[in-house]
Symmetry: C2
Subunit: 130 residues, 2 copies
Amino acid sequence: MRIGELAQRAGTSTRTLRYYEAHGLVRPHRSANGYRVYDEAELRVVREIRSLLAIGFGLDDIRPFVACLRAGNDSGDVCPDSVAVLRRKLAEVDDYLDRLGDVRRRLHDQLAHAIAQREETCLRTRGPAG
Amino acid sequence: MRIGELAQRAGTSTRTLRYYEAHGLVRPHRSANGYRVYDEAELRVVREIRSLLAIGFGLDDIRPFVACLRAGNDSGDVCPDSVAVLRRKLAEVDDYLDRLGDVRRRLHDQLAHAIAQREETCLRTRGPAG
DNA sequence: CTAAACCTTGCCGCCGACGTCAACGCAACC
DNA sequence: GGTTGCGTTGACGTCGGCGGCAAGGTTTAG
């Protein structure tokens, strides 16, 4: 399969596939004329990459998962390195959830305060009977 | 007050202050020799900017808050435009919290699955009496 | 023979909030 | 008058995951 077909089947672009290759994640052969040739297994790899990117992983984080797939495992996350990354990412997400919760509270309070102030101003402007 | 002093008092850099100015957020006068001169109120403005940046606002989002302060209000969030931004941001954060919660669940499940698989492999390798 | 549809490498653009020079001017002190 | 420490503008670098374009080669269909 050539790059265009893989791109279409993986739901991405040829540019993206070349980018993954440049970063060592996808490894095509080359046909006589220099065209990239991918075997079926690479489709699996590309889908794994896309799936992990979608939940916030960087390409560096993804490398162990690809290696795990290439090592013949049914899923990319059963190898020690992958598990380590999963643990780290889970911790990062938990951390981020905490901070985002704080931000939410601050936003909520600030909004409540602003609205209260506006009500007050409104009352003063129109008079207490307003 | 000149740019160095303001930077120090606001806990930031001169580069940052010039950047804010280039984006219309801070407005110094100029002394005869061309130096930027800030009055005390600008310290307040810069602190507002920093505070909002820290909770994930972009400079564009912050502009209404600065305008609100400049209009003579005690806090930058009581004006209609600021309130609108606060509402929008709160919605964005809620949205992000939802998606991050999904991601967390997926990470957690994936991790649990990976560990279960490894246990199984381990047992098979060492034998059921392992 | 030519056009169309593939493919190749290479390089610039993007977003956003700055950091980090470069090359210069101004002010003050000894 | 030389040094030090302020200030000025301008322009390029950063990070990451690509998009998009240029300038060419290959293959296939008509």
